[in-house]
């Protein structure tokens, strides 16, 4: 089970108390009526779906109920940091996460019999 640090409760809580809420730092266009259909589709539907470091919104729905932002490594599933909603995109502290930590099927299960 993952432990997720809630920046409002100021402690690690079980993932069971949280919900994922999509990609973070997507700003709504200032004048949404003025943008083209392509720009709207880009804003509304298209997400980066990055492999590796990604910024997401999470909600501590069964705790304090607050939304917050998290930087997560989608390969190792590790939460690199969490911070309060409304703050600008934060730099992730240096971690050991790199290509070497990538777990592939071949690396972990490839010779399973």
């Amino acid at each position: 089970m993952l432990l997720i640090h809630c920046p409002y409760c100021e402690e690690d809580r079980s993932e069971l108390e949280f919900r994922w809420a999509g990609e973070a730092h997507i700003a709504r266009p200032e004048n949404i009526a003025a943008i083209s259909d392509e720009e709207f589709a880009e804003f509304f539907f298209l997400r980066n779906n990055e492999k590796g470091l990604t910024y997401e919104r999470w909600r501590h729905i069964h705790g304090c109920g607050r939304f917050f932002n998290a930087a997560r490594d989608t390969v190792s599933d590790r939460f690199l940091m969490t911070y309060k909603a409304g703050l600008p995109k934060q730099q992730v502290p240096e971690t050991g996460a790199s290509e070497k930590t990538v777990e592939t099927y071949e690396a972990t299960e490839g010779d399973a019999r």
Binding site: M1, S14, L16, E17, H62, G63, C64, G65, R66
Partner: protein
Amino acid sequence: MVDSGADVATRSLPLSGVHGGSAAVRLEVAAPAGRISLRVRNEDVSALSAALGVDLPVKPKTSAFANGRTALWLGPDEWLVIDEGNSGLTTAAANSGALHSATDVSHRNTAILVEGPGAVATINVGCPQDLSLKAFPVGACTRTIFGKVEIVLLRTAEDAFRVEVWRSFSDYAFGLLSQGALDAGQ
């Protein structure tokens, strides 16, 4: 038409007549209480505290008790206030003169009191919280999850907890607590 009394609807409380527990844990249905779900901005917390007669805690996971009322911190601007006696909570909040939202949830919630040396083991059957006294001291409270339902958990003594649960989930919560109590009693 003569009123026989048989046609009059009688109000039955959630969890009325249920039994549970084991040698290690006593499960008891709490008496009806007044409750409000309170939302207040930072700057108005002191006004609401004065109006309610209990200091709204501003530190995460803490509660305060005064004048028969318990205020539980649920979020940065959200509290659950429980009054064991005659409520009057919404009126008291309204008299504060400060901007707030107070919703009466007295009948939405019911409470189960879990008490005994096996209380922690019983609740941990369905709750992922660390309930050691270091992480969850007496007076600590939080909204969390218990099996499939959301609860508000308050530690009232070293081996006693109050589990606040929505009334429609109370059968499920009591059933899981009963099973946990049996397991904790072994």
